[in-house]
């Protein structure tokens, strides 16, 4: 199956093309700190570059996979609107993949391929959610390529992550020797995370990037869902205006 994968959950724009034999190529735009994200201006161009390089036509694409976040709201919308538009135009199925899971999967694959030896069995995926929060989820790699979620995606202050990890370990009854924390949130909040049993690779490690090739791989295995129009961002947070209207701290908000 030929799969086009896209992810825009972080300031990066990533596209990947997975061919029928599983061979996958990726093209990405990683803005430098302070640079404007190129989701609207780069994403479609990256996809086109890959198609041209592999000599694959748009109409040969059989499935589109998109990272649904959580991540930056506008970025997610550009990626998902693009993916939905392509799916509608081509009449192919669209599946969504957690960007946090894709981040963890990418780190695991990189470790298995031997390009980085730091990935162990336990992976914490952390995406910068701005305003002092992160989106995070934790996974256990049982067999190669297979990730079991041990901490469901949350929007949380980074200082609270160690406590959440401890609780997750209690629940599954396993004492985790060391966590590998990856993602732009892990880089930014290294100080809050890099204590004791959490290891954060160096800033320039490719393990920190959400890989569109991972989105392709996860998307290729995913069951076809309820149609492309049901694919929406995992915002994980309500709009500020709604929170203000309800009164901060009232009711079940904010999520944690």
């Amino acid at each position: 199956m030929i799969v086009l994968g896209l992810d825009t959950a972080t300031p990066s724009s990533a596209a990947a093309l997975r061919l029928a034999d599983g061979r996958t190529s990726e093209a990405r735009d990683d803005p430098r700190p302070g640079e404007h994200p190129g989701h609207a201006t780069r994403l479609l161009g990256l996809a086109r570059e890959l198609l041209d390089e592999e000599g694959v036509g748009w109409r040969e694409i059989e499935r589109i996979a998109v990272g649904a976040g959580p991540g930056t709201f506008t970025g997610l919308r550009v990626g998902i609107a693009t993916a939905r538009g392509l799916a509608q135009s081509l009449g192919v199925e669209l599946v969504s993949v957690s960007s946090l899971r894709a981040l963890a999967h990418g780190a695991l694959v990189a470790a298995e391929a031997g390009t980085d030896t730091s990935a162990g069995e336990w992976i914490l995926a952390v995406i910068d959610a701005r305003r002092g929060e992160v989106f995070a989820a934790a996974y256990r790699a049982r067999e190669p390529g297979s990730l079991r979620e041990v901490l469901a995606p949350v929007a949380v202050a980074p200082a609270l992550l160690p406590e959440l990890l401890a609780r997750a370990q209690e629940e599954i009854g396993v004492r985790v020797p060391d966590w590998l924390a990856v993602g732009d949130g892990a880089i930014r909040y290294r100080a809050e995370l890099d204590a004791g049993d959490v290891h954060v690779p160096s800033e320039d490690s490719p393990l920190h990037r959400v890989s569109a090739a991972a989105v392709c791989a996860l998307g290729a295995d995913a069951p076809a869902g309820g149609g492309y129009q049901s694919v929406l961002p995992d915002y994980r947070r309500r709009p500020d205006a709604e929170l203000a209207l309800r009164g901060v701290g009232a009711g079940e908000d904010p999520p944690r």
């Binding site: 609107a81 509608q88 135009s89 915002y235």
Partner: protein, 354 residues
């Protein structure tokens, strides 16, 4: 030859199919109702809602037109100005729809869209309502007044216009909505304000910009200079209503609500009419078109009718934000072949095209 267009610059998700000769085949508008409780459009909520239904709106537009994507030869979308997050949903969707089929793409300026609504050929008696099957041809002056913009344009061709005047602060529709809120009419309150004004005396209060105020005279030199300009200003009017309400004894404010509404509405309409009249005089043009949601206002329509010029008021669904007008503009504007448009970005209100 068929154009598919999308528009998502504010809180309406729109798609339309228009033929190259200007025949409108469908015009789907899905208006968001989530903003009322916030007293105005919340950009983040608007963007979320656009994404939820944009593809469905496209599907409906094709269905209504009896068309399929196979038939579409040009895809268009509003590039700006507007709420960037909202624009990006329609623009990204449209670029992807076009790219997958390697179709050409037309980025459209929203205001040029309002002008191009006048170039549509709308079959009489169609479900969308219409005033005539023939397009209104340049040259003409175009008054565009909505919640997002207020301007007077000199239209000499099909692919652009010269701005003669624009608002220096609030848009006319914004002034209607803010006034309505002050009078306790909710949001959006333009139509409610018009209904309340029906029983009121438009000359009861001399609000800034109104003919009643001009009749009473006594303005400063700065205001006189501004009064000669073709630019609009509604911020002072809003403040005047606020002070008037504050200074009225509570018992009177309720009893005089319809007078307040009528006088407030008259000030907005007088301001629009005065500048339209002045622009017609200065250019010597005797043809006038209107666009934008404020064009639905009955008092404005009545006064425009008294100007004694050839007047073109598109059907209501073509005056408010819609994608048929974007498709119409796309027929005459810049057309980029695949893949030259893949990097197009949206631009915000107050920004110029990149």
């Amino acid at each position: 030859m068929t154009v598919l267009a999308l528009e998502s610059s504010c809180d309406d998700t729109c798609a339309a199919v228009v033929d190259f000769d200007g025949r409108m085949r469908s015009n789907v508008i899905s208006s968001q109702e989530a903003h009322g409780r916030f007293g105005g459009v919340v950009p983040e909520i608007a963007s979320r809602q656009h994404l939820e239904i944009v593809n469905l709106v496209v599907e409906r537009a094709l269905e209504d037109a009896g068309a399929t994507l196979e038939e579409v030869e040009l895809v268009a979308a509003t590039q700006g100005p507007g709420l960037v997050g909202a624009l990006l949903v329609g623009l990204s969707t449209a670029k992807a729809l076009a790219a997958a089929r390697e179709l050409p793409f037309a980025p459209v300026d929203h205001l040029q869209g309002h002008v191009a609504a006048n170039f549509l050929r709308v079959a009489d008696g169609g479900s969308n309502g219409s005033v005539g099957a023939e397009p209104f041809e340049p040259p003409f002056l175009c008054l565009i007044a909505s919640g997002g913009h207020t301007l007077l344009g000199h239209v000499t061709g099909h692919d652009g216009f010269e701005v003669l005047g624009r608002t220096l602060d609030d848009a006319a529709g914004e002034a209607f909505d803010k006034g309505a809120r002050m009078l306790g009419l909710g949001y959006p309150g333009g139509a409610a304000l018009e209904r309340l004004a029906a029983d009121g005396d438009p000359r009861a209060f001399a609000f800034p910009g109104s003919a009643a105020e001009t009749a009473r005279g006594g303005r400063g030199a700065r205001r006189k200079a501004f009064a000669q300009s073709l630019d609009f200003s509604f911020a002072g009017l809003k403040t005047a209503l606020l002070y008037t309400l504050r200074d009225l004894p509570e018992a009177q404010a309720g009893a005089r609500a319809s007078d307040l509404a009528a006088s407030y509405q008259a000030a907005i309409v007088d301001s629009l009419i005065l500048r339209a009249e002045r622009a017609l005089e200065r250019t010597g043009i005797t043809r006038l078109a209107v666009g934008g949601g404020v064009a639905a206002n009955g008092e404005l329509r009545r006064r425009l009718g008294e100007l004694g010029v050839a007047l073109h008021v598109p059907a209501r669904r073509l005056c408010t934000d819609n994608a048929a007008m974007i498709a119409s503009a796309a027929r005459f504007g810049e057309r980029l072949p695949y893949p030259d448009y893949l990097a197009l970005d949206a631009y915000a209100t107050g920004e110029s095209r990149r």
